[in-house]
Amino acid sequence: MAAELHVALVAADREVWSGEATLVVARTTSGDIGVMPGHQPLLGVLESGPVTIRTSDGGTVVAAVHGGFISFADDKLSLLAEIAELSDEIDVQRAERELERAKAEGDAAAERRADVRLRAAATR
């Protein structure tokens, strides 16, 4: 069993992050799932939520992911998302404004997106 996961976090229009990791936690439609090396091949639907990647060198990468898939086989893990942002790419002020606006307009999906962004940004 290899001790590392090869992770690729890809958005529709770019590769957001790729590298080695020891643990990946993502939110699927039926709850959070943690994947470590040697996990059974898996294909799941992701919810809007934060994805935490514990890298091999001990660091942590957090990304806000909005919809997509997680697929794992052969110690290769891919996270496919329509929109994905790393926590340090997130514009907190903009996300806060979005949250206000979404609350005012009662747009649940937008509110959730902004909320996920803020929570991901809070971890950095």
Binding site: V45, S78, L80
Partner: protein, 313 residues
């Protein structure tokens, strides 16, 4: 200055101005091709991973899904044609339209009704002029398509494919776009997106994935599906269609810019040639004018000399 010479000078001025414009357009298109190519490359990892996932679900489960199963009798198909908003791109648009028309003819010969969906003002204008029915059309983003645009295009198509045929739904989805092979070669081609033929997906993947050297004939492991194979497939296939359409839009944009660049390059070359020819003609006209003036002066002075010599006598 003689009339002939003036006409030539005017034409040279006008052709020079045109040449400047086409040269500028050529350079703009050249820089856009590079940008568009980069976007195609950037969208490749997603398309590749998605294709892998689709193949995995398709081969690893016995789930029947309307998007993967072939209808027994196909009564209606949708054809999505990707053209550009603007012309000046040589035969780019007419090639794509021609490919779509051939596909439509072929499908109609097989006894299917064809619903046409169009992206780009050029294709729409072509169909409107011939008063052919277009179900839905989009324009305004063909130069730089985003994923949101692809989603917008994909939504009604996915809806149509999920609807029952009796209620106006379609059984097949074809796409006609211009594949970006290289700077010099772009080919208009048609492709069936749905229903998926899994062997084909496994072999070729999306054209982008194939270009990136996706592993062929790979044996996929048995997957665990979260929450279930049906749900995964339900969520996966619309994304797959969107990603294929996105990729086609990007390739179409890159092809369009490459075609524009080529068309503008030959326009610039032609203008250069025209300027050379016209300058030669203008030079000849100027020389003829000078020769005529000299002979007029010589003739005039000779006549004058004759006249004075005559009056002396």
């Amino acid at each position: 200055m003689g009339a002939q010479l003036r006409v030539y000078k005017r034409r040279i001025r006008s052709v020079t101005a045109t040449k400047k414009i086409t040269k500028a357009m050529e350079m703009i298109a050249a820089s856009r091709v590079v940008k568009a190519q980069r976007k195609v490359a950037a969208s490749t990892p997603y398309a590749q991973e998605l294709t892998r996932a689709v193949t995995a679900v398709g081969t690893g489960s016995n789930t029947k899904h309307p998007l993967t199963t072939q209808a027994e009798t196909v009564t209606r198909s949708a054809v999505l044609l990707l053209t550009s908003d603007r012309g000046l791109a040589g035969a780019f648009n007419s090639n794509a339209i021609k490919a779509a028309e051939q596909l439509t003819e072929r499908l109609e010969a097989e006894g299917k009704e064809v619903d046409t969906y169009i992206v780009g003002r050029r294709g729409l204008a072509h169909y409107n002029f011939r008063e052919r029915k277009v179900v839905e059309s989009w324009s305004g983003f063909t130069d730089e398509p985003t994923y949101a645009d692809a989603k917008k295009v994909a939504a009604p198509l996915i809806e149509a494919i999920e609807k029952e045929t009796a209620e106006g739904g379609v059984d097949e989805l074809h796409i006609v776009f211009t594949e970006f092979v290289s700077m010099m070669t772009q080919t208009a081609l048609d492709d069936r997106l749905l229903p998926l033929s899994l062997e084909e997906v496994a072999q070729t993947g999306s054209s982008a994935a194939a270009a990136a050297g996706a592993p062929k004939g790979e044996i996929l492991p048995l997957y665990d599906f979260e929450p279930s194979a049906e749900d995964v497939l339900d969520a996966l296939l619309p994304r797959y269609v969107e990603s294929r359409i996105y990729n086609a839009l990007l390739q179409s944009a890159a092809s369009k810019h490459a075609a524009t660049r080529r068309a503008m390059k030959s326009a610039t070359d032609n203008a250069g040639e025209l300027i050379t020819t016209l300058s030669r003609l203008a030079n000849a006209a100027r020389q003829a004018e000078i020769t005529q003036e000299i002979s007029e002066i010589v003739g005039g002075s000779a006549a004058l000399a004759d006249a004075t010599a005559g009056s002396d006598r």
